[in-house]
């Protein structure tokens, strides 16, 4: 079994005539936390949706633990160990939080995560477990969506716009929950984050996208904020930059 868990080779995706993701190559190691940053329209969400199987890929391959999953549908990828917390959380609002978790537990990959373990790992959830998902606050919805994804027992968890629309307190709470996951070390995280400081503080590695291309990547500790900001806004040349630790 290799240390590389998720490998993306030459991935290309479009919205009609508009190419959103251009020939991307990158990989994520087992247990690694990678932050995907970039301005609006950089292709972050499209990339995550392609990886999850809910947006068609025009070219390239997605390998999960050495297996080509490019042709698999979203629910089949979930059963191989790839889960996604989509932008907007997309909870089933008419169901309780417990029912949301059970749907994922029923249909996801068998594994160690149970409702009780999710409640232990995400302290925000126990008080709201029997409340309708439609009645939750933004931070609670994010915690419930993360819990729901965990119930599928993922090896790789994709999180889109982790802190978008959340109050600072809710963001703190969500990152505390993610830190619990990280400590467990069982799940690799690829998270889209608009807050550069937080992304660089939390992730092991940072990938910066601009116009569908990776314009900067490297260990979070070795990247300077100036370099990331320059890549983010396109002040530097378009050629990919590899930072060295």
């Amino acid at each position: 079994m290799s240390d590389t868990l998720l490998e993306v080779q030459g991935l290309r995706a479009a919205h009609g005539q508009l190419v959103a993701v251009r020939d991307l190559d990158f990989s994520i190691a087992r247990g690694e936390v990678v932050a995907l940053i970039g301005a609006n329209g950089a292709g972050k969400t499209t990339l995550l949706r392609c990886l999850a199987g809910v947006h068609p890929t025009a070219a390239g391959r997605v390998m999960l633990d050495g297996t080509d999953i490019t042709a698999l549908l979203a629910h089949q990828r979930v059963r191989r160990g790839l889960a996604m917390v989509p932008e907007g959380r997309r909870l089933f609002d008419d169901m309780s939080v417990r029912e949301n978790l059970r749907v994922a537990g029923d249909h996801g990959r068998p594994g160690d995560w149970t409702i009780q373990k999710v409640l232990d790992a995400l302290p925000a959830l126990p008080p709201i477990i029997d409340r309708p998902a439609g009645a939750l606050s933004g931070g609670q919805r994010q915690a419930a969506a993360i819990g729901r994804a965990l119930m599928t027992n993922p090896d790789v968890l994709l999180l889109d716009e982790v802190s978008l629309g959340l109050s600072p307190l809710a963001v703190e709470e969500v990152y505390r929950n993610l830190a619990h996951l990280r400590e467990a070390g069982r799940t690799s995280l690829l998270l889209v984050e608009q807050d550069l400081s937080r992304a660089m503080a939390f992730a092991d590695r940072v990938l910066c996208l601009r116009e569908g291309r990776i314009v900067l990547q490297g260990p979070a500790q070795s990247l300077t904020r100036e370099a990331v900001t320059a890549a983010y806004f396109g002040v530097e040349a378009d050629s990919p930059t590899e930072a060295h630790s």
Binding site: H75, V78, R90, F92, E99, V103, H107, G108, R109
Partner: protein
């Protein structure tokens, strides 16, 4: 008057079963199945055929027909509806409209144009009744059909609330993409929902044939009644569907007191009134106004006084 109300209430059970299938298919697959009424007629003729050809009890014939109807639902979903779903909202409408026409003509070709009933096969039950205090007569068969309707809807509600399949159906109906991201296989869920919906249509058709007559071209009228019950009761709630069916049945029974043509007319008028009220409320809501002019929520009234 009271007798008419009771008859309307009992008739509502039949409408609820008929409407539940239509509502389920729309809720899960977003298909407005214009062949729903014709599928009900297929179920009715299936039971009639088994009863007439093999001398089976209508209830036994119904028990045999329902799994076949479920299989027809799975086949339709697999080879017809699933293909049309990819092409937007118009194609499923056209395809199910065409399917309805095909079913009507196929039934006409096989069974002829004669109206049929299961009344004779039911024997005494077809006209047996109970006399309630006050001299009110209630037919036994309508009561049995109402009890079946409540039991079926309760069973469906329990299935949707407490089973793996039920939660998957609700999840797929709520947000298909999010359901897929939870590992829910939409193909299997859609087939299961189609099986249940078509079996419900078949059940409704057979129950209709027990208390009235059915004929090959009767599907569109059943479709209209199912639509009316769904709109009156609201999509997305089985108990709402039962309420819609009961209100429709009561309106029709009261309309029949006024004139024979009033039976259908009263149902249509109630449907139009509810539809109009819903549109009015939606319009007011979009304008940020209360549902009724001058109406304030009690809490808002208190706040104004304070």
């Amino acid at each position: 008057m009271i007798e008419a109300l009771i008859q309307g209430l009992l008739l509502g059970g039949f409408y609820a079963i008929l409407a539940a299938g239509l509502s389920l298919m729309f809720g899960v697959m977003r298909i407005i199945n214009l062949a729903h009424g014709d599928l009900a007629i297929v179920g009715a003729f299936g039971v009639i055929a088994l009863t007439e050809r093999f001398g089976l009890s209508p209830w036994l014939a119904l028990a045999l027909v329902l799994p076949v109807m479920a299989l027809i639902g799975i086949a339709l979903q697999r080879w017809l509806f699933a293909r049309t779903l990819r092409a937007g909202i118009l194609l499923p409408l056209l395809v199910t409209f065409g399917l309805g026409a095909v079913l009507q003509n196929a039934l006409y070709g096989v069974f002829g144009s004669e109206a049929r009933s299961l009344g004779n096969a039911l024997g005494d039950l077809a006209w047996a009744s109970w006399e309630l205090p006050g001299g009110i007569i209630v037919g036994q068969l309508p009561v049995i059909i109402f009890v079946i309707a409540v039991a079926v809807l309760a069973g469906l509600q329990l299935m949707l609330s407490f089973t793996r399949l039920g939660r998957a159906i609700r999840a797929a109906a709520s947000d298909p993409e999010a359901a897929a991201l939870c590992g829910v296989d939409a193909t299997r869920v859609h087939r299961a929902a189609a099986a249940i919906a078509v079996a419900l249509a078949g059940l409704a058709g057979a129950l209709l044939a027990m208390q009235a007559t059915v004929e090959p071209y009767g599907g569109p009228m059943l479709l209209i009644q199912a639509f009316e019950a769904v709109v009156i009761g609201g999509i997305g709630s089985l108990w709402g569907t039962l309420l819609g069916g009961v209100l429709l049945g009561v309106a029709q029974s009261l309309g029949a007191l006024w004139s024979p043509q009033g039976f259908q007319l009263a149902g249509h008028l109630l449907f139009l009134a509810v539809l109009g009220a819903r549109l009015w409320r939606q319009h007011r809501h979009q304008l940020g106004r209360p549902a009724l002019p001058g109406w304030r929520h009690p809490r808002a009234r208190k706040a104004v006084r304070a």
